[in-house]
């Protein structure tokens, strides 16, 4: 078995308030490669962590409009070129009748774009993550709250960062290896 690489430090907190305050201080201490973990989205945590922006709406919109345009183009091509039939004495390109399918295909594309971009921006799916090696981390999907600071962060030093995390009121701090 290869030698284990240090992933970082994992600090456990008991409730969202403690997590929130801890995040504010990790942010202010200038760490960059770190993250917090909770069983549910903690309201306002992105402010405490110092980020706010997501690219997903743009991807979703691009998917949606492309899908809708494609849906309309398919119907227009079928009605005018591939299989032109005069129905109810309407013009071949009776675009009003194509709106429902255009709309539905646009919605489907938006949904697919939203889910895919959510997964891709989150780096999911992935089969393994160093944090899954921690037994206590299983509670991250139950009732415990965690902050992890990665070893690759420029400010990270094992003892100093451990003392810093303990000073934030962590109930438990442990070393996580990859």
């Amino acid at each position: 078995m290869a030698t284990r690489r240090l992933y970082g430090l994992l600090a456990e907190f008991d409730n969202p308030a403690e997590l929130y305050h801890a995040c504010e201080q990790v942010r202010d201490a200038g760490y960059r490669d770190w993250d917090s973990f909770s069983p549910f989205p903690v309201h306002g945590i992105e402010k405490a962590m110092g980020f706010s922006w997501s690219f997903i709406p743009w991807v979703a919109a691009a998917f949606g409009f492309t899908g809708a345009a494609g849906g309309f183009a398919l119907q227009a091509w079928v009605a005018t070129t591939a299989y032109p039939l005069v129905i109810s004495a309407k013009p071949l390109l009776s675009w009003q009748a194509f709106i429902p399918v255009t709309f539905e295909v646009g919605i489907l594309s938006t949904a697919i774009g939203t889910l895919l971009s959510m997964l891709i921006f989150n780096g999911l799916p992935r089969l393994h993550h160093p944090l899954f090696g921690s037994e206590r981390f299983e509670k991250a999907s139950d009732d415990k709250f965690f902050v992890a600071i990665e070893a690759k962060d420029g400010k990270f030093e094992l003892e100093g960062t451990r003392a810093f995390l303990e000073g934030l009121g962590a109930a438990h701090v442990e070393v996580v290896e990859d």
Binding site: P39, P100, V105, I107, A111, R126, S141
Partner: protein
């Protein structure tokens, strides 16, 4: 460093929820449950050995499903002649069942999308099960157009696929719009439901003690670990899905109603159909949610999460949409008179007093009269009464589609072609059997997946707010 004392949750009861909605928000989780209690309560349903009640229900559902299998096999072997379809009624129970099931399939996405946009936090207790129910209802619904073509191996005609005959579907037809609307509705509802499931699948994975559970839940959880950066993207994605599902859910039954409204048959050719169908769909969907939730919150001991308050809110929506449906029935009659079209007037008088009057009055008593009982708080807060009313709603909404479909066809413009339409045992087999499909899928769902959205319920508890006063008091600020 001070160790913070654990916050002791306040124990709320039914009484806290039902009193004075003005001065405080009603709690959504009763019994003083902590986050861990919520996880345990929901997850243990799936982890405990199967109960005898579940087996009985599952086997019952499975036997109904086998009726469906036999009925469909007989239909495919012989053709649609085994049904009671006859001149002039060529749209019988198949479309009635289709519209019935699609309608039921509207509650889930309404709860998860529209109530989400309106910030109705109580939706978290019921949205998972309602969305699952939606998917299963849409599956039942889609099965009917599939089998009603008779030669089901030719179903691909509805898809815009290049083929050796060089023909393409007619995109000007509402029936084709319907193919797209319902199948896309099913697909998007599935994506939405799955997105909501990811964090809970991670919870199931983390609690799993057997290899197979860990592999299966872990595989479907996609490596979710509750990162705040992930949650941020997740919430944005969820909001977008809710935002697009809202017009989607309204469009689906609108387009279903076009199947009727775009034709020129008296009784069908009316502009009131889209809103009236959507209201009816929500009405019947909530009826089915109540039918399922009232027993399952007792059987699986989820009374603290699916509270009387949740049920009461659903009853209010049933009351509202039931009244809208009643208004639409009245307005159809008014327009039939006001429009002075003799065929239209006849169609409606014939509905109420003609050969299908019995079906019409079942529909009126179930859909218009029975939900009005929800004006009484006692009725809205007594589970067994609302359960009975919800059954009436289900029955009434099936009859609504029967009345609309059959009365207009059986007595059309030409009296010499009139006839009385009756179903055969194979029609009945398909309807009963589709309930088998629905209940089989639903019982598998409650067996293998968390039926309450664990993460979402935690997020609406007052302890989830980082600025919750209980924490600052415990820390001594």
């Amino acid at each position: 460093m001070t160790t913070t004392t654990a916050h002791v949750p306040k124990v709320y009861t039914d009484a806290d929820q039902l009193s004075d909605p003005v001065h405080h928000r009603a709690p959504l989780v009763l019994g003083g449950l902590s986050f861990a209690d919520v996880t345990n309560k929901v997850a243990s349903v799936v982890e405990k050995p199967v109960s005898r009640t579940w087996w009985l229900f599952f086997l019952f559902s499975l036997s109904l499903l086998s009726i469906y299998g036999i009925s469909v096999a007989w239909l495919v072997w012989n053709g649609t002649g085994v049904w009671g379809l006859t001149n002039p009624v060529y749209w019988g129970w198949a479309i009635v069942n289709f519209v019935f099931w699609v309608g039921i399939g509207h509650a889930g996405t309404l709860i998860s999308a529209i109530l989400f946009l309106f910030r109705q936090k109580w939706r978290t207790g019921i949205n998972r099960a309602a969305e699952a129910m939606t998917l299963f209802a849409v599956a039942c619904a889609l099965s009917f157009p599939t089998i009603h073509v008779g030669r089901i191996w030719l179903l691909y005609y509805v898809a815009p696929l290049p083929n050796q005959m060089n023909i393409w579907p007619n995109f000007r037809s509402p029936l084709l719009w319907d193919v797209f609307a319902v199948s896309i509705y099913g697909s998007v509802s599935l994506l939405f439901w799955y997105t909501g499931l990811i964090p809970d699948l991670a919870t199931m994975r983390d609690r799993a003690r057997t290899k197979w559970r860990r592999l299966l839940y872990g595989g479907f959880a996609l490596g979710w670990r509750g990162s705040s950066r992930h949650w941020h993207n997740y919430e944005v994605a969820y909001l977008i899905l809710a935002g697009i599902s809202t017009p989607l859910v309204l469009s689906v039954h609108t387009i279903v109603s076009f199947d009727f409204a775009v034709s020129q048959l008296p009784g069908w050719h009316t502009t009131i159909f889209p809103p009236y169908f959507v209201a009816g769909a929500v009405f019947s969907g909530f009826g089915m949610v109540v039918t399922l939730m009232v027993p399952s919150r007792l059987i699986f001991d989820l009374k603290e999460l699916i509270t009387i308050r949740h049920l009461e809110n659903m009853c209010k929506i049933i009351l509202l949409t039931g009244s809208m449906v009643g208004y639409a029935y009245a307005m159809e009659f008014f327009i039939a008179w006001y429009g002075q079209n003799p065929y239209e007037s006849f169609a409606f008088v014939n509905r109420a007093f003609g050969q299908y009057a019995w079906a019409y009055w079942i529909m009126i008593s179930c859909n218009v009269i029975s939900p009005q009982l929800f004006w009484f708080k006692k009725v809205r807060t007594t589970p067994w009464i609302m359960w009975i009313i919800s059954i009436f709603v289900n029955i009434g909404m099936w009859f609504e589609r029967f009345v609309i479909t059959v009365t207009s066809l059986a007595n059309d413009f030409l009296p010499s072609s009139w006839d009385y339409y009756s179903p055969t045992m194979w029609d009945v087999g398909c309807l009963i059997g589709s309930f088998g499909l629905f209940f089989t899928l639903y019982s598998l769902f409650v067996r293998f997946l968390p039926q309450v959205a664990i993460a979402e319920v935690k997020a609406v508890m007052e302890e989830a707010d980082p600025h919750f006063e209980g924490y600052s008091a415990a820390e001594g600020h």
